[in-house]
C-alpha cells in the first residue's frame, strides 16, 4: 500500500472518529434522560429487610454500590419522612439476613411528608376489607373537599367586594347597608366552612410504620394508596398511566418535588403564546418591509446585518434589557399612572408574564425576521412579476401571491422561534419567573387574563428543583421527567419545522417553474 493511500486512510479515519464521538455523546444524552425518567411512574415492590441487629427496614431499592471496603451496599428509599426525618438510607448487604415482599404493605401518597410505607388500620373493625372501605371514605372526603372549595371561592369573592367598598371610602347609608349585608353573608359562609372542615377532619385512618410507631392520618391528606407488592402487571400499567396523567394535570406539592406540573406547563404555554402574539405580526411586517419595500441601499444592508447579528447576542443581555426597559421603565410608569394607590407595592413594576413574553419576543424577533425574509426572497421573481403584470397591486401581490407561496418557510421560522423561546431560561430568571406562583396567569376571575402575574416555567422548574430543592436525591427523578418533557416539546416542534421545510424545498425547486 502506498504511503499516500495509507495517509489518506488514516486521516479519514480520524474524521470518522470525531463524527462517531458526536453521535455517541448525543446518544448518551438521550439514553440517560430516557432511562432515568421513564421508570419514575412504574410501581416498584416494597421490600422488607430483616437485619442482623433484629431491626426491620421497609423500603424500595434504588441502587447498589460498592463501599470503600469493596462490599456491596444498597440505597433504600424508606419514605415516612414524619417518622424518620429523611427519605433515603444506605445499608450494607452483609447485614441483611432475609428479604421478603409482604402483601399487606401499603404505599400511601400524602399531601404532607411525602409517601408512607407501612400498615393501615381502621379503628372500627368492620367486615369489609381495608382497601374497599378506605376507597369509600376517600370518595366521601373528596366530595366534601369540593364543597369546601366552592365555599372558599364564594368567600374570596365577598371579601374582594368588601375591600372595594372600603377603598372607595364612601360613607353613604346605602353603601353601609350593602357592606353589612355582605358581612352577614360572609359570617354565615365561614360558619359553614368551619362545619365542613370539622366533618372532613373526622375521617381518619391509623398508619403504622414497620418499627411499630403509629400515627393518625387525615384521609383528606391521602392522594392515592395501593399495595405495590400485590399488583399484577396490568394493574401496574394502569397505575403508570394514572400517575402520568396526574403528573401532567396535577398541581405541585412539597416545594415542587412531588405532585404534578400542570401550572408549569400552563405557564410555559401562555408565555410562548403571548410571545408569538407580540413577535409574529411585527416580525412578518418587518420582513415584508425589508424584502419588498426597502430600497437596497447601504443603510438597509447595514440594518440587515445588524438584525441578523442580534440573533447571536446572549440571551441574558436581552433579559437585562427587559428588566430595565420593560419592568422598571414601562412597568414603573404604568404603576405611577394607573396603580398609584398600590404603591410602593408594584403591580406592573415587577417581573411578570407580560414583561417576560415581551423580552422573549425581542429575543426571537431577529430569528423570525431573518427566516421570514429568506422565505419571502425564495419566491421566484417570475411569479411576482406575473402577478404585477396581470394588474394586481403591490399589496395584492404580497398578500395573495407571495405570502401563500412562502408560507411554509415563514411557518418554519415561527416554529423555530417557538422552540428557542420554550427552552430559554436565562432572561426569564430576571423578568418574572418564580418557583411557585400562587395563581395561574389565566383563570376564572375578572379580567381573566392577568398579565401582571408571575408565572412558572418548565425550564426554570428544572433549574430550580435541581439546585434549590431541599431534598436533591428525592427530587432527581422529577427533574429527569421534566427534562424529558421539555426535550420532547422542543424536539417535536423542531422536527415539525424541518419536515415542513423539506416539503417546501421539494415543491419549489427552481427547475419546476
Amino acid at each position: 500500500m502506498s504511503i499516500n493511500k495509507s495517509k489518506e486512510l488514516f486521516y479519514v479515519w480520524i474524521t470518522a472518529v470525531s463524527f462517531s464521538t458526536i453521535l455517541l455523546i448525543v446518544g448518551t444524552l438521550i439514553f440517560i434522560i430516557i432511562t432515568n425518567s421513564i421508570g419514575y411512574f412504574w410501581s416498584k415492590p416494597i421490600e422488607l429487610f430483616q437485619l442482623k441487629d433484629n431491626k426491620k427496614i421497609l423500603g424500595i431499592v434504588k441502587k447498589t454500590e460498592n463501599n470503600l471496603h469493596d462490599k456491596e451496599k444498597i440505597q433504600l428509599k424508606i419514605a415516612n419522612r414524619d417518622f424518620y426525618n429523611f427519605d433515603f438510607i444506605w445499608i450494607n448487604k452483609d447485614e441483611i439476613i432475609e428479604t421478603s415482599k409482604p402483601q399487606n404493605i401499603f404505599l400511601v401518597e400524602r399531601s404532607e411528608y411525602g409517601d408512607f410505607y407501612g400498615y393501615l388500620n381502621f379503628n372500627s373493625t368492620k367486615k369489609i376489607d381495608i382497601t374497599t372501605q378506605l376507597q369509600i371514605e376517600l370518595e366521601q372526603v373528596k366530595k366534601l373537599l369540593a364543597e369546601k372549595k366552592n365555599i372558599e371561592q364564594e368567600l374570596n369573592k365577598i371579601n374582594t367586594l368588601i375591600k372595594k367598598i372600603d377603598t372607595k371610602n364612601n360613607n353613604s347609608n346605602q353603601v353601609k347597608s350593602e357592606k353589612t349585608s355582605f358581612q352577614k353573608k360572609f359570617a354565615i359562609l365561614s360558619d359553614k366552612q368551619e362545619e365542613l372542615s370539622q366533618k372532613i377532619n373526622k375521617f381518619k385512618i391509623e398508619i403504622q410504620e414497620i418499627g411499630g410507631n403509629k400515627k393518625e392520618l387525615l384521609i383528606s391528606n391521602i392522594i392515592r394508596f395501593y399495595s405495590p407488592n400485590s399488583l399484577s402487571f396490568l394493574d401496574k400499567i394502569i397505575l403508570y398511566l394514572d400517575k402520568l396523567w396526574d403528573f401532567l394535570t396535577g398541581f405541585p406539592r412539597e416545594a415542587n418535588t412531588e405532585g404534578g406540573i400542570f401550572p408549569i406547563i400552563f405557564g410555559t404555554i401562555v408565555l410562548v403564546i403571548l410571545m408569538s402574539i407580540f413577535c409574529y405580526p411585527f416580525g412578518l411586517a418587518t420582513a415584508i418591509y425589508l424584502s419588498e419595500y426597502a430600497k437596497n441601499g447601504w443603510l438597509i444592508r447595514l440594518v440587515r446585518i445588524a438584525v441578523s447579528n442580534l440573533a447571536g447576542v446572549p440571551s441574558i443581555v436581552y433579559g437585562i434589557f427587559g428588566l430595565s426597559f420593560f419592568v422598571y421603565g414601562i412597568g414603573g410608569s404604568i404603576d405611577q399612572l394607573f396603580f398609584n394607590e398600590n404603591l410602593p407595592n408594584p403591580t406592573f413594576g415587577t417581573g411578570g408574564i407580560l414583561w417576560a413574553s415581551l423580552t422573549l419576543s425581542i429575543l426571537t424577533l431577529p430569528v423570525v425576521i431573518v427566516a421570514t425574509e429568506e422565505a419571502l426572497n425564495s419566491v421566484p421573481k417570475g411569479i411576482k412579476e406575473c402577478s404585477l403584470a396581470l394588474g394586481a397591486t403591490h399589496s395584492q401581490t404580497i398578500i395573495k401571491v407571495i405570502i401563500p407561496i412562502a408560507l411554509p418557510g415563514i411557518i418554519t421560522g415561527f416554529i423555530l422561534a417557538i422552540a428557542r423561546a420554550a427552552g430559554e431560561v436565562a432572561p426569564l430568571l430576571i423578568t418574572g419567573v418564580v418557583k411557585s406562583a400562587p395563581a395561574l396567569p389565566i383563570d376564572g376571575t375578572f379580567p381573566f387574563v392577568h398579565l401582571d402575574r408571575k408565572f412558572m416555567h418548565l425550564g426554570f422548574h428544572i433549574f430550580d428543583i435541581a439546585f434549590q430543592s431541599p431534598n436533591v436525591e428525592a427530587s432527581r427523578p422529577i427533574v429527569f421527567v421534566s427534562t424529558l418533557l421539555l426535550l420532547l416539546i422542543v424536539i417535536f416542534l423542531c422536527s415539525f419545522a424541518i419536515v415542513l421545510r423539506e416539503r417546501l424545498r421539494k415543491k419549489y425547486k427552481p427547475q419546476q417553474i
Partner: protein, 722 residues
Amino acid sequence: MLPGSKQIRRLKILDNIFRRIIITSGIVVIICVLLVLWSILKVSLPLFKSNETNKKILKEEFYQNILYVETDTYFETFFVLTKDGKVILQNLENKKILDESVISNEPIIFIESASPQYLFSRFQSSAAKFWQISSTRSLSETSSKEYQLKIKQLGSFPPLPTFNNQQIFYDAARRNSEDVFIRVSLIDKKIFINLQAITENFLGDEEKIQENLQITSKLTGKITAAFLTRNASRLYISNDKGEIEDWDLRDLSDIHLAFTLQTKKNISSINTIFGDSSLLVGFTDGKVETFSYNKQKLLKIYDFDSETGAIKKIIPSLRNKSFLIIGENKSSFLYLTATNKIVDLDLPKEIKQISFNENGSSIALLEKNQISFWKFNAPHPEFSLSAIFDKIHYENYSKPDYIWQSSSGHDDFEPKYSFIPLIIGSIKGTLYAMIFALPLAILGAIYVNQFAKHWLRKIIKPTVEIMATIPSVAIGFLAALWLSPLIEKYLLSMLLYLVVFPLFFISSFWLYIKFSKNFSKKFGKEFLLVIPSFIGCLLFVTWVSPLLNKYFFGNDFIFWLSNTFGLVYEQRNAIVISFALGFAIIPIIFTMTDEALSSFPKSLKAASLALGANQWQTLTKVILPTTASGIFAGFIIGFGRAIGETMIVLMATGNSPITSWSVFNGMRTIAANIAVEVPEAPFEGTLYRVLFLSAVILFLFTFSLNLIAELIRSKLRKKYKV
C-alpha cells in the same frame, strides 16, 4: 370585465394603506431592536458621570454659643446644640423652629462626635454625658410633614479623678458591642478610661456598674492626635515623630498596647474608615495614608497626595468608604480605594465643628458665627474604571488583587467590582469548551460532508439541527447532576481513556495497513466500526483503572492529585464545562463548517480528483484552503455562543469568581454573574449599573464577533457565486 374607476381608486387607497402600515411598522421594529444596546448603555452611563454637583445652602444668620450642628437624612431639617444645653430643631429652608428641648442646665464646654446622632458633652467639672439626638419625620392628618426631636441619654460619666482644670487633649465616649459605655480622656500622656455598664443582678434589678482605669502612653515628644474607634475596640494616639500607638480595647479586662506603627512624618490627624478596620492618617505635609489590618498588623494600603496643605481634620462618611479631608488650603472628598477624588470642596477656613448626616449625603459646618450646609451628589463613589480593571488593595487583604464580591451580610462591607475574574472565567470556560468542541465539530463535519454515504448525510443534517435546539437548561442539569459526580468518580478512568484510545486506534490502524492487501477505496461506513471500538476501550479502561487506582494512587486519585501537585479539585469544574458547553456549541460549528464545505463548487472538486489527487489531498490542498474562512466564521460564532451561554455555566460551575486557569476548579462568567446578581441588585444602585456595564461589554463583544463572521461569510459567498 374591467374594474370601474371607483374600484381602482379603492384598490389604490388600500394598497397605499398597506404600504404605509408595513413601512412604519418595519422601521419602528428595526429601531426598537437596535435600541436594545442603547437602553442597556443608558443604565450604566451614570457611573461615569463626574460627582460634582454640590449645592451650597448658606445661613448667613448669626447663631451664638453653638457647639454642634447636624442635618437629617432627607436634608430637610437640622438641629443645633448650644452651650447652655439647648437643642433646637429647625427647618432648613425657612429657618422655622420645629422643636426645642433642654438637655442640661449645666453649661457644656466641649462636644465630641464621631458618628451622626451620637454626641459626647463635657461640663466644666469634667463630668460628661453621652447622648443620642435625632429627629423623626411623620405625616400628619393634613399630610404635611411633622418633625420631632428624639433625645436619649445613653450614659453619664463622673468627673475625672485628680482633675484640676488641666487641658484635656482628647475626650470621647463610645458604646462597644457588649453595650458597655466607654469614656476615654487624654491628659498629657495619661489615658483615663471610665467604663459604665448596666447589668441585671440576681434579683432582676438593674444595677449600674462603673470602673476607672488608667494607662500611660509610652510615646515621646508631643501628642498630636488621638482617636477612639466607633466600636470602641481600639484607641490610636500619635505624636509629632510619626509614631502611632495602637491600644487594644476589645477585652476590657486586658487593655494593652498592641503595637506601635512608624510613619516617620509629622502626623496631624487620625480617624478610621467606616467599619473601623482601616486607619486614616493625615500628615502636616498634606498627605493622607490609609492602613488596614491584615493578620493583626496594620498594613499600608493607599496614600493620597492631596494638595490641600496640612491636614487638619479627616471625617469619614458612615454610609460607605468615602471620607472628607480638610486641609490648610482646601478640602476634598475622597474614596478609599478608587484612588481618585470624588469632588473638591471650597470649605471655609475657620471650622469649629463639622458633621456628616446619617446617610453621608450632606455635611453641616459650624464656623465662628455662621452655619453652612453642603450636599453631595456622589451616587457611585466606589466606581471608577481602575476599580473594575486594575488590581485594588482592599481592606484586610495582604496585597492588591482582582476581586469580585458584590455583597455581604455586613453594613460596613465594601463592594468589590473587578471585572477581571469574570472575564477570565468567561474566557476559561469558552476556551476549554472550544478545545473539546472545535476538533470534533470540524472533523465530524468534514467526514459527513466529504466521505459519508449520502443516506447518512440526509439523516445527520436534521439531527444536528435538532441537537442545536436542545435547551441549555437540560444540558446544564445533566452536566451538574449526572456528569460532574461521574467525572469525580471516574476521573482516573477518563484520563486513562484519553491515552488508551489513541494508542488502540493507531496500533489497530498500523496492523490493518500491514496485513490487509486490498481494501476498498470507498469511504462512508467507518463510524460503524469506530463505535464498537469506543465501547471496547471503555470496558478495558473501567477494568484497568480500579487496579491502577489501588496500586499507584492509594485508592483515592483526587486526594493523590492534591497531595502531589497541590491541585484543588472541585466537583463542578472546567472539565464538566468543557463537555457541557462544548456539546452546546458543536451543532453551530458543525453546521457552519458543513455549509462552508458545501459552498465549494462540485466541478472544482471533480477536476482535482480527475487530475489524480486522492480525496484527502483534494480536501486539504483544494477545498480547505478556499473554505477555511467559512470554517473560521463558524469558529467565531461558536466562540460568541459559548461566551454568552448562561444556564449551563450557572448550573455546572461553582460560580466562584476566581482567577485560576486550572481545569479542576470552576469559574464565574460575565453572563452567569448577571443572572446571579441582578435579582438582588437594588434598582439603580452601583451594583445594578455595574452589571449593566458588564452586559454592554458582553453585547459589544458578541456583536462584533458575529459581525466579523458575517463579513467573512458574505465574502465567501461572493467568491463562489455561480
